[in-house]
C-alpha cells in the first residue's frame, strides 16, 4: 500500500478545532454536533457521500455560514469572526465550482487574493501611493511566481472566461495560495479531473507547501487521491462525523464502508 504523506513535510500551519458545530436550514440539520481536530501542518481529508454536509462545514469554517458550537483557529475562538477577518487570519479556500471574476485575466484573478493581506482602504492608494504601489508590485511578482509553479505562466494575461475547467480550478488554487494561508480549505480540488491531472496538481501543491507553515483540509471524492495525500481522514455522513482517524484505518472502518455502499 502507498503511504500517506508524512505530516512533518509541511511547516507548522494553523491548528483547527471544531467543537459541537451544528447548523440547520429550515429545520433540516445539515450539520449536527461535528467535532474534530485538524493538526497543524497536516493534510486532512473530509470525505462522505453527497449531501453529507462537507461543503456546508467548509462554509462554516470559512465564515460564510454562522454555525452553532465553537470553531477555533490556533486555540482562538473564531466562531463569530466575519469571513473577511478569517481570511486575514490565514484561512483561504476554494469552491466546488471555481469562483473567478469573469473578464479578468488569470493574473488579475490571482492578485485579488492579496486582499487577505489586510483591509484595503479606498484612500490608501491616494494617501500612501508608494506603499500601495509597492504592495501591488509584490503581489504581482508573487502571483507570477505561483503561476509559473503551477504551469499557468503562459496564460497569465489570458481572460479566465474561456479556460477549460481544469485550468480554472488551478487558477483558484493559486489565488488561495497567494496570501500564504495558514489553513487551506480545498473543496473537491480533483472534481472533474482524472488522476493524471489531479496527481501532478497535488504534487506541485504539496511540493510548494513543503516547509511552509500550512495546514490543508480538503473535501474530496476521489479516494485514490485522498489515500495518496491525506494522513488523516474525517468521514461525514448525514451531517455527523462517523469516523475520524488515520487514512488506512478509516478506509477499513465498517461504518464508513456501510455509508459509502449503503448497505
Amino acid at each position: 500500500m502507498v503511504q500517506p504523506i508524512a505530516p512533518s513535510r509541511l511547516g507548522v500551519g494553523a491548528e483547527l478545532s471544531l467543537e459541537h458545530v451544528s447548523i440547520s436550514f429550515r429545520g433540516v440539520h445539515a450539520l449536527r454536533d461535528v467535532s474534530f481536530e485538524v493538526r497543524p501542518g497536516s493534510v486532512t481529508a473530509l470525505i462522505g457521500p453527497n449531501g453529507a454536509g462537507k461543503t456546508t462545514l467548509f462554509n462554516c469554517i470559512s465564515g460564510l455560514y454562522r454555525s452553532g458550537g465553537t470553531i477555533r483557529l490556533d486555540g482562538r475562538d473564531i466562531s463569530t469572526t466575519r469571513s473577511a477577518a478569517r481570511a486575514r487570519l490565514g484561512v483561504a479556500r476554494t469552491f466546488q465550482t471555481p469562483a473567478l471574476v469573469a473578464g479578468w485575466s488569470v493574473l488579475a484573478n490571482v492578485v485579488v487574493g492579496d486582499c487577505a493581506r489586510g483591509a484595503a482602504g479606498p484612500f490608501a492608494s491616494f494617501l500612501q501611493p508608494g506603499r500601495e504601489n509597492r504592495q501591488a508590485r509584490q503581489a504581482h511578482e508573487q502571483a507570477a511566481d505561483l503561476l509559473e509553479t503551477f504551469g499557468l505562466a503562459h496564460l497569465s494575461e489570458t481572460p479566465v472566461d474561456g479556460l477549460p475547467h481544469a485550468q480554472r480550478r488551478r487558477v483558484e488554487i493559486v489565488r488561495a495560495l497567494l496570501p500564504s494561508p495558514r489553513l487551506l480549505l480545498l473543496d473537491e480540488p480533483a472534481a472533474g479531473l482524472g488522476n493524471e491531472e489531479s496527481f501532478p496538481l497535488f504534487d506541485r501543491l504539496l511540493r510548494w507547501a513543503e516547509g511552509r507553515d500550512m495546514t490543508v483540509l480538503l473535501v474530496e471524492h476521489s479516494m485514490d487521491l485522498v489515500m495518496k495525500v491525506a494522513g488523516h481522514v474525517v468521514v461525514l455522513d448525514a451531517g455527523g462525523v462517523i469516523a475520524d482517524g488515520a487514512a488506512e484505518e478509516v478506509r477499513q472502518d465498517p461504518a464508513v464502508i456501510k455509508a459509502y455502499l449503503g448497505e
Binding site: A120, A124, Q135, E141, E157, E197, D224
Partner: protein, 355 residues
Amino acid sequence: MSAVAAGVQRSRWPVRLAWVVGMVLVALLAFVITDYELFRLSRMACIGIAVLSLDLLTGRAGLISAGQGALFGLGAYTTVLLVYHEIAPYPVAIVLGSVLCFLVGLVLGLPALRLGGLNLGLVTLGAALVFPELLKKYSDLTGGVFGIGISPPQAPLDLALTSAQWLYLVSVAGLLIAMAFYTRLVNSRFGRGLEALRTNENMAASVGVDLARSKLLAFGISSAMAGFGGGLYLLLIGHVTPDTFLLTLSLSMLFAAVVGGLRSRLGVLLGAAFVVFVPDFSAAFGERGPQLIYAIALLLTVYLLPRGIVPSLAALGRRLLGRRAPRTPEPWDEIEPGAAVAPEQSPVVDRLGKG
C-alpha cells in the same frame, strides 16, 4: 518574475497617451467654438462626472442606484447655499458639498447591506423622488420652487477668458480629476475587491473583502463624486430649482451609464453626451421627443449591444481583427517536456510509493 507585471504596465502607456492628447485637444476647443457650444460641452462634463460616479457604483460594485440625480442636486444646492450666504468661496463650497454627499451616501448605502438588485433600486428611487419635494418643503432655506441662484464665477483677471471659456476649462478639469480618481480607485486593492464582490460575494468574502464596509464606502465615494459634479454644474448654470433635479435626471444618468457601457470610461462620456445632446435634436419629435429617443436607444442597445455601446463595439472590433483569446491546450506536458502524466509516473506517487 516581474516581467508579467511590467508588461501589463507597459501596454497601458499608449492608451494613457491617447487620453492625455485627447484631453488637451478638448481643452483647446475652448478657443474654437461658440460660447453656447462650450456651455453644452461643460454640461456634458459635469453630467459625465455623475455618470462616472454611477459607473463606479453600478458597473464596478454591482449596486444599482436610481437616485444619483438627487446626490448631484445635493452637491449643487450645498454649493449654492454656501456661496449665496457667503460662508465659503466656490472651491471650498464644492468640496464641502462632496463631503456632505459622502455622508448622505453612507446612509443611503445602508439598505445595500441587506438588499440587492431591484429592491435597492427602489430604495434609491425613493431618494430621487423625495429630494425635489424636500427642496420645496424647506423653501426658507432653498428658495422653494423658485430656487436659488448666484452670479456666475468669472475667470481670474489675468486670464483673458470669457465666463463660458473659463467654466468649460474648469468643468473639463473637474472631469479629468474625477477620471483620474476613478482609474486609480478601480485599480487599487479596494477597487478590485469591489469587482470581486460584484461577481461573487462569497468568493470576495473568502479572499478577505469586507462586504459591508466595501459596499458602504462604494456608496459614499460614488455619492461624493456625484456631489462634486453637481457643485461644478451649479457654477455652470448659476441658478437651481427643484425641477433641475427631478427623477428623470437620475434615470437619464442610469440610462447613460448602461447605454454607454458599464465599466467603460469612454462609454461614460458617450452616455453623458447622449443626455445633453439628444434633447436638442429630438425636439422635432415634439415635447416627448427626448424620452422617445431614450427609450428607443435603450431598447436598441439592450437588444443589439447588450454590454453597452463601447464595450460591445470593442469586442466586435477585436473579433474582426482576429485578436481572440488564445485557445489553450492542457499545459502540463508543455511545461515539462517529456514528463509523463500517467499517475504511476507522477512524482507524488513515486515519492509516496518509495516512502
